[in-house]
């Protein structure tokens, strides 16, 4: 299954759907993670908060190819997108293991194929470097075999790239 998460506004859903199975529009109309870990320990793979992100981890976990389109914020994701990632840690299990020589959680849905980041907006050189590191670390943490990253000048170009 191929999924695209984007923060370009839901008008872009149709267009993006032409090249993917599923689209998740990060519109920010949901609460941030509260750090309770109950998506591991109480009701596995569902969030304690019953808004639209209640099962977000299941969507991400079942995405063999995941493309994330996000505006640049200091070398990290926009809030609307990061919120979805934070609320989806149950793509992993509470058990720990080693990946690339460091501690990580074992993967509920096993290894996935590819993580592709499309980052748009004003970007400094330092922020681009941070993004390279972020993509690499996220791919290891989330259990993707491959990753890639594309920088775009603006939202329009990012929409076309997807």
């Amino acid at each position: 299954m191929k999924t695209v998460i984007h923060d370009l506004g839901k008008e872009q859903n149709e267009k993006i759907l032409a090249s993917t199975d599923r689209v998740v529009c990060a519109d920010g109309r949901y609460a941030p993670c509260q750090g309770c870990f109950k998506c591991w320990t109480k009701h596995p793979a569902s969030c304690a908060m019953k808004d639209v992100l209640h099962q977000a981890c299941r969507v991400l976990g079942t995405s063999d190819d995941l493309t994330i389109i996000t505006e640049n914020r200091y070398g990290s994701y926009s809030q609307a997108v990061k919120n979805i990632l934070d609320r989806s840690i149950a793509t992993s299990t509470p058990f720990s293991t080693y990946r690339k020589g460091q501690m990580h959680h074992t993967l509920r849905y096993g290894k996935r194929n590819r993580l592709h980041l499309i980052v748009y907006g004003s970007l400094t050189d330092a922020e681009k470097n941070t993004w390279q590191l972020m993509a690499e670390r996220n791919a290891i943490n989330m259990g993707f075999r491959e990753y890639s990253i594309t920088f775009c000048a603006d939202a329009e170009e990012a929409g076309r790239t997807a």
Binding site: K42, V59, S96, M103, R108, A126, T130
Partner: protein, 257 residues
């Protein structure tokens, strides 16, 4: 006059956050006027932004979430960027990050994000520390409280029954020493950071951890999550299952729907 330091606990947890604990510890070591805040929702912004106007230094104490800052910090940072640029505030920024995994180095992307934030906001990035296995600090502080209580009880009992009071104190001391050794890197780098904050100098980025071999830490972490999952019942509700999204999962737009 010494500049005011604003300390911000950025954990979304109401209570018992490692960041809250680290903030208090840092507060003990930092001299001069200090103000403490907890950043959780937009309702917290005005008071913090107000305090920043009269401050010289700010210390962000934060957990690592998915290799970066927790999402709720971002809108605050954007408002802070605006405030600082608009008013030419040139605060010195320090960061104390802690993460769940044992390697403190895993905080590096978060540190870079905070440095990039400073560059955009015209603030002075002064570095900080990244603490691996931060959760253990919570375990430690609970253990110390419990052990201290037990020691008092023992001392009392020994006094009443004519036993050796010193024994109880010594055994508490020994356990305490063990816990301090586990945290020795954090204590050392914490003190070093506080010295830099007090002088207003660049502390650089330093990474430390709980002093346990990673395989021992992993065993502890696994046992911890098994116990909590038994108590909360998750272990009996498809603990490791590959759940599929329900048909009505409303964040997805699918082809043909």
């Amino acid at each position: 006059m010494m500049e005011k330091t604003v300390l911000i606990n950025c954990s979304p947890k109401q209570k018992l956050s490692v960041s809250g604990f680290l903030m208090k510890c840092a507060g003990v070591l930092i001299r001069g006027k200090k103000e403490y805040f907890h950043l959780r929702t937009p309702a917290d912004y005005p008071a913090i932004l107000q305090a920043l106007k009269g401050a010289g230094k700010v210390v962000f104490v934060t957990p690592l979430y998915v290799d970066s800052i927790p999402s709720h910090m971002l809108p605050f940072m954007q408002e802070m960027e605006e405030l600082c640029r608009g008013n030419g505030l040139r605060l010195k920024v320090y960061v104390i990050a802690n993460n769940g995994f044992i390697e403190g180095k895993q905080n590096e992307p978060l540190m870079q994000v905070m440095e990039n934030f400073c560059a955009r906001s015209g603030l002075t990035w002064c570095g900080g520390i990244g603490i691996g296995g931060g959760v253990m600090l919570n375990v430690e502080r609970i253990m110390i409280t419990v052990m201290f209580g037990l020691m008092l009880l023992n001392v009392l009992l020994s006094a009443v029954q004519g036993g050796d009071v010193l024994d109880a104190v010594l055994s508490f001391g020994k356990s305490l020493l063990g816990l301090v050794i586990l945290a020795c890197g954090i204590i050392a780098f914490g003190i070093r950071l506080a010295v830099h904050i007090n002088r207003g100098t660049d502390a650089g980025k330093k990474y430390t951890r709980i002093m346990l071999p990673s395989f021992v830490f992993i065993a502890f972490a696994d046992i911890f999550f098994i116990i909590v999952s038994v108590l909360q019942g998750g272990i009996f509700r498809g603990w490791l299952s590959r759940f599929q999204p329900d048909a009505g999962c409303s964040i997805i737009t699918e082809n043909g729907k």
